[in-house]
């Protein structure tokens, strides 16, 4: 009886702790960096958002601006970043927000795709994702995404690199502990593109992932590779429910 009561208590404690055990990297930052992110006049990421707004209304090539089709991004793009990566029915593959913007460029605007990590791409992506700030991450429920998401999870748990570490070893098992002078975060993806003080600039989630991968001395997959998008898919699922912070500031 006692054991049953203990079990029940343990089970309910677990059930309660599960939803709020997800903690954004924001919570483990120093108060100064938190203040930097909170204040839009201090947050350097807002420079890219402002850039993105200009690009949103700029006519590319000879035909359309983003605004021609999508109108006011504040309305049309609200909630979009919360859902991505999503399934692309034409190419029949999952695409992240960067790739979606580039697909729009090549299919509709008929201009060249923007290179990964270019200032223009980061600006546009930041502007689009910023419209969902404060909304909870709600990954797409498309059935086609189940298999790639599962492959992403396997990648996440796979030991790799000369250090023979997996993402899960640090970010699932040891968050809150220290890695040299830095607190290991849970590794949530609710603030990308992110202004990182270490980079002195803005960067996408893929840049961050490549950073971590070369940190464990593994060979990072190229930008926009299938592996990258599958990992992003799983990470978005893992961060589901957390509020979007784009543009987040991280140490």
């Amino acid at each position: 009886m006692l054991a049953l009561a203990w079990l029940l208590g343990w089970a309910s404690a677990f059930a309660q702790s599960a939803p709020d055990s997800k903690r954004s990297g924001f919570d483990t930052m120093s108060p100064r960096i938190q203040a930097m992110q909170r204040d839009d006049q201090q947050n350097p990421g807002m420079l890219w958002v402002a850039d993105g707004e200009v690009l949103w209304n700029k006519i590319f090539g000879i035909t359309f601006s983003c605004a021609h089709c999508h109108g006011d991004a504040k309305k049309s793009m609200r909630g979009v970043a919360a859902r991505y990566p999503d399934w692309d029915p034409i190419d029949k593959k999952p695409v992240d927000l960067t790739q979606r913007i580039n697909l729009c460029r090549t299919r509709h605007q008929l201009v060249l795709p923007l290179p990964p990590e270019s200032e223009e791409m980061l600006g546009l992506e930041a502007y689009v994702a910023h419209q969902s700030r404060g909304m909870p991450m709600a990954p797409s429920a498309a059935k086609e995404l189940d298999a790639p998401r599962e492959r992403g999870r396997q990648q996440y748990e796979q030991r790799i690199g000369q250090l023979n570490l997996s993402c899960a070893l640090c970010h699932d098992k040891l968050p809150g502990h220290m890695l040299a002078g830095a607190t290991i975060p849970q590794g949530h993806v609710n603030g990308y593109p992110t202004y990182r003080l270490e980079w002195q600039g803005m960067g996408s989630l893929q840049r961050r992932l490549r950073n971590c991968l070369s940190g464990v001395r593994a060979e990072p997959p190229p930008f926009n590779s299938t592996e990258m998008v599958e990992l992003e898919l799983y990470l978005a699922q893992r961060s589901a429910g957390l509020k979007i912070e784009t543009p987040a500031v991280r140490p």
Partner: protein, 106 residues
């Protein structure tokens, strides 16, 4: 054209202490780092910031290579008279940027 974010109140009471916050996009390249090809990247920093209130310098700062990219500067001014605040950033390679804000003092 560099991008700036400026927070300055548009109205104030005479004698009020106002906080002005400025942020400018700039790489602040130190001149000590090596580029991808191994050669030292030339220095490219903002060297001086100044704020003029109706033409008179009310705040200025010298900037050095140790200051981070996209420098953020916050300072206080006393609301004296209606007019304009002019912000100037000057730096290497002929970098110059001027922004202004108007303020009404009652």
């Amino acid at each position: 054209m560099a991008r700036t974010l400026i927070h300055a109140p548009t109205t104030a009471r005479k004698g009020e202490v106002l906080e002005i916050r400025t942020l400018i996009a700039h790489p602040m390249e130190t001149g000590y780092r090596a580029g991808a090809d191994g050669r030292t990247l030339p220095r490219d920093i903002i060297r001086r910031f100044s704020c003029r209130y109706n033409g008179e310098v009310v705040f200025s700062a010298d900037l050095y290579p140790a200051i981070s990219a996209n420098p953020y500067l916050a300072f206080n001014v006393v609301a004296d008279a209606s007019g304009s605040l002019t912000f100037t950033w000057e730096g290497d390679n002929g970098f110059a940027q001027t922004e202004s804000a108007t303020i009404t003092v009652s």
